[in-house]
Symmetry: D2
């Protein structure tokens, strides 16, 4: 029998090892893994030329609806970066705080997304009890909490509400996604710095010190323990939080941690020198912390890695050149994510197996969409990323297709890039160019175990 | 040579053991510990008849300035209970938030106190930097923080200010005294309970659950670790906090814990049955927690014990009979403190040695007034408490001399009572009656090591 | 293209999950995993009828050369039990203490084994330095140490030699297999029991108490830590040893633990009642220990499980009926191993995923023969075990094909059995009967990573 | 009333602090601690001139009966060194393995000792059950175990006997004193070194490596845990053992550790350079281990310190100059013990309070003779050591009065020395010279608590 597609002569990567062989796809799903010549006949045969094939890659933490970006430009940029599924975070532009908002957002992405997508729910102050359950039943993959302030459109939640929401989530097996910084400390620091008329770049480091993140991390873990809720501490910048989560897991708490490439490639020195262009929260940390984060990533103690893509325009960022407070928090990341990590692989800091765990299998499991997503196995969606591990290139602002058209890594030398990708067997990336069309992506509701 | 006073035929108790012999006093200080017949000649010789003599007993946590009580009635009641030194907490009636208030308070006690006294400073929101240092230089023995709300006259401090104050204290070797409950959780619970029109006694337990205290305890310890400030977590009701403090000490954090008799003698059942009469914060816990608190006290993991005497009137408490929210938080305690603990000694739950550690030596060391106070040693102030370990009696409201004239332990059968005491060699308690006069107490400023 | 064999309509089990589909085999190796209808054409198609297929199953700890058993009868019984690869332990009948002995043994198995096989080296007292290296270079999969006495033909090694051997192994990346019981304690107990003329069954429990195993386990782990040698503590009966190994791994020691079904199904009560029939070393433990061992197995803290098959004849065992000392240590186990574990799966005490980890993937990795053995992946040897999870049956002595023709589980009701198996694509077990022939098994030398 | 003796104008040291004042003695016991002028009249008044007075100092680990030393010369040398009580270890010359031997030894010391004394029992192979109990009832202060070989006159005990003896001791509340080195490792190393004709000084370090002591320490602690026996690991040279004991205590095991000055002042470099003159067991360790031992001593994690005085003659030691194996294990230590430790105090590595804990109070408590010995309190024996903290001097072989007339510290510059001492009020050391007479010492049987 003839299948739709065969990718042969590949190095198929999974967290368990690297298999030399090929993969057959039919009807949008993987139907066989095989050694040649036992691959089935196919309408299309792609010779990978010995290249690495990763399972479909997830961005578990992305904000595409953030002008000048939108769900169309953002998912296209994600496709360019090699992602096959994105999980859209709630944001100040378009919430996701109740079923109605959730449905609107889901439908917007159905019409516009270049890749498959999930929708994370959001938990804002004053949400009615049951709201998280309603969105969970609609297939949400997590519920995002802003423990610190996220601006006027997202009313901040305080401990009481957070705790009550954790209890609600615990009852339905839900997953809490927590940005952990102590807002009260941040506000105090901000007030003090502004009183001292501090507008320089280093003020950001004093505004959001490690203690604010460390304290909040341990507090959230304590609440997870008490309520029995599952939790993921997002964009962790601190080994202390990673180790606290490890110890809690050993006591039976279901808690995991996510980090981002910016905590592996940027440091406090960048903040001091480049100000608004590397302004995001929590901020980068010192060199030793960054080095330890790499080690914990490779050691398997960091569970997943995502972009926290927040593509503010150059104009918005430039407002912070003279007064760091004026720039918004956030940087674009979907197009540089994989090249930066592959560079780490080429440097021996991260194995391909661990890479596939933290960008594919682990997030798919965490978010309840495994093994449909995140696996290179018969029966799974035929989401494949073919990677050129050898290509050396320089990241350039002008090559970015994100609507914000800049990157904090302009000028960085990297090695490795996604050259082709497929989502459910359909080509999305071809020779480095996006060939998918708007609306090609499908909604992936969370599956119950 | 003839000395002023000899107490002979006594069991002199210290944390290290019990010495049979006598103590000689001259000029207000202990001048000899000796076996008979080697005690010096004395103008006054008191034969203790084999009774136990404790080193002067401290109440490290007392609110006397709280109508209907005042510094005169409250210190007299403390004298009745066997205390020889009290450490007055800041309160809503008379703050202690800057040097001026501190001096006023110190002078008020000089004029009115029946026993020796120290003054704890208070840290309220918006205090100017340097205020704690100013009071520290005036001899304050600690700086009290209300992490949770304490009413309109004491503006609540939040994490940012607390952290900054810890840093200030760290610089001067100061001691932070922390009431650790998560205010945000409490407020949320209060709001929810009031919305549900819950006015019953059990609502108090839902208002202030263990998680609120446990979380705040670990947060405060994390701040102490980060700032290098010394800290005492006051009126701890939870073994979890005690163990967190132990582990932190092993990592070099200087943190200790205080508990109160109400966490050894009252339980959640009392709250459900007796409502306002046992309303205080944090509230009593369940039986197993109480049993474990006894074990940790005897094991040396709880460093000190105090009364948290808060003598609200019967009328104020009765307001809560129909609506538990209407009653104030706090109960009287100075007259029942020692009898309750001696009962524990008689029951074999606490040794005399440990008792003398937690009521005398340890608090004196913590507050920087050792060995002037808290020690039965030549050179120390001649503060002695002679105790009848055998007397069985029943606590009665009508026997209380505190201005509030009631006790939560009315009807409790106890065994043990203070019969005589001396402060700097002067009789304060004689045959169970206070013979000291108003203003006899002296100010004890903190000594630098 | 047409392959040799397809097994379709199966539940393919791995530690990561269960895949519904089929497996294609050609030239003795797996060439494809696929969903129907994408399996290749095959000369032989076996419809598994929805049954479970496990990766080839290893017995990492077997003694077949032990009269009345031999390498032919023993490997045939192993095949009957569902094993596809066995790892023969050194024994008193035929050592394996130097290269010459090793080669003899390897060649004997080549001529007689029904399934594929590895040979573990042995470390006996007085072995010349370099002997373990010689056997390692011949492909040995481990070096077995008898810390306690194993009879006159196997001169016991003491700590000094063990330590030196660990150092030698550390230098070549070798693996030490350790029977951990404190021989000095055992000898003392034996002497004392014999002096008291104790010949009853319970004497065995006093002879080999948990402390002897616990102490030796921690001692061996300490030596592994000091020398950097890899180690597997075999036939662990104690959760204490499992947890000690876990903590050591967290400190970087490469140590793993094996248990056996007898530590999951037999208890001290069986020893007291059945004497010689359940005499083996270490002996079974109390019920709570057994229950905790099940939990640690499912929790992933026990790395592998093997039989310690030691098929002494009924006659040898019966010698112990009146005098427990007269019976040898050891019981047969290869035919009951999988049914007992499958019964645990059916009872919900063990997942199929964990089962495949501890009987296939983990031992194959530990012994350096993965992914040739132990994996259901394209490229791996086509070793498959097809299991009927539903069949309920009663274990009977008369059904055993081991030359000793008895089992300690006679009369046990179990659920689950191996019905078919293949080794390198060749049928070994068919409808529950061994169809392989003597000498069909091949030697599997350890592969270097 | 007039007492026998007053020592005034002193710094009285205890683990709790330093008290300026005086001590009164009558009838051999302390009858008062007092500030002047409240000291009683006395027949003899000694003005200490502001010097430090330590409570009577114990040597918990001494071998005086070792030619050329004997109980007379050895206790006189101990008196010279400032000791007021010695605890004689069993030895190869005169055992102490049963009641008869114990009584002989006790009576010998009664006739010859210059200071008060206790007798430790010994546990040798083949001792009859009940022997330790017999000696315990005669007042023995501990039972010494040689886990490693101690020569032909002391048959070595192995684990089985040790374990059984621990059980016997647990039943009577006895105390096991354990020399912890793994004898099997030592024997193996010795054999190998001798086969290689290694007679150089460094061979000693290879003979008795840290792993031998570390392993045995954890094994002994495990047996103490299992049996409930109290234990003291003597002459610990390793921080690892100290920390293992700490963790065990936290789990309820009653285990303490002793070290010696040789583990604080000598290192592996001394072994390599000076061979037989620093040959003792366990041997000195590397510089970092020694530095950490000082820190653990000051931190309170090492419970006591003793000499392990083993005064082999120069001739016996010189036998090892060409062949290190020929020299016996052991060095003299009683005369240099206190000066070395006082030098540490003067250098700020050890506080006087900690010194008095580890040389007086702690060993007295451990051995069951507190507060008769080891305390500066009314009612305790009037054992006092007056120390000149300022005197700088050079240790010289020719100044040693031990019968062996040499010291490993010849030429060391030290600061601090005992100038006077009293035992039960009688002068023993006066202006640095022994004024006591042979037989003046009394037997101090262990007191039951």
């Amino acid at each position: 029998m003839t299948v739709d597609l065969v990718v042969k002569n590949a190095k198929l990567v999974s967290p368990r090892g690297i298999l030399e062989g090929g993969v057959a796809v039919d009807g949008g799903v993987i139907v066989a893994l095989a050694k040649e010549p036992n691959l089935p006949e196919a309408d299309v045969v792609l010779d990978a030329g010995g290249k690495v094939v990763l399972p479909g890659m997830l961005d578990g933490h992305i904000h595409t609806i953030l002008p000048p970006e939108n769900s169309s430009t953002g998912t296209k940029a994600a496709a360019k970066g090699g992602f096959t599924t994105i999980l859209e975070m709630p944001g100040t532009q378009m919430g996701g705080f109740d079923g109605t908002q959730f449905a609107l957002k889901r439908d917007l992405f159905k019409a516009t997304s270049y890749v498959d997508f999930c929708i994370h729910a959001g938990c804002a102050a004053g949400y009615p009890e049951g709201t998280l359950t309603e969105m969970w039943n609609m297939g949400s993959t997590g519920a995002k909490f802003f423990v610190s302030s996220a601006g006027p459109k997202w009313p901040q939640t305080f401990d009481g509400e957070i705790y009550a929401a954790f209890k609600e989530l615990a009852g339905i097996g839900g997953l809490a996604l927590i940005h952990a910084e102590n807002d009260t400390l941040l506000r105090y620091n901000e007030k003090r710095l502004k009183e001292a008329d501090r507008r320089d770049y280093a003020a950001q480091l004093e505004w959001r010190p490690p203690i604010a993140e460390a304290e909040c991390g341990q507090r959230i873990i304590r609440y997870l323990k008490e309520t029995g809720c599952r939790g993921l501490i997002v964009h962790t910048s601190l080994p202390e939080t990673v180790m606290n989560a490890k110890r809690a897991r050993e006591e039976g708490v279901v808690v995991n941690v996510e980090t981002c490439p910016q905590y592996l490639y940027l440091t406090e020195d960048d903040v001091r020198e480049r100000g608004p262009w590397v302004k995001f929260a929590p901020p980068p940390r010192d060199k030793e912390t960054v080095a330890q984060t790499w080690r914990l990533l490779q050691a398997g103690l960091i569970d997943t890695i995502a972009t926290d893509h927040a593509p503010y325009s150059r104009e918005r960022k430039e407002e912070g050149l003279e007064d760091i407070w004026a720039a918004p928090n956030g940087i674009p990341g979907v197009e540089t994510f994989l090249p930066l990590l592959l560079t780490g692989v080429n440097q021996g800091r991260l194995s391909l197996e661990r890479l596939s765990a933290v960008v594919s299998e682990n997030p798919a499991r965490l978010y309840g969409i495994y093994p449909k997503k995140g696996a290179l196995m018969p029966g799974s969606d035929a989401d494949l990323v073919i990677v050129d591990m050898k290509q050396k290139w320089t990241i350039r602002n002008e090559d970015m297709i994100t609507a914000c058209s800049w990157t904090p890594y302009d000028g960085y030398e990297v090695q490795g890039i996604a050259v082709h990708s497929f989502v459910r067997g359909e080509p999305v990336l071809q020779d480095g160019e996006v060939v998918a069309v708007e609306g090609q992506g499908e909604y992936v509701p969370r599956m119950d175990p």
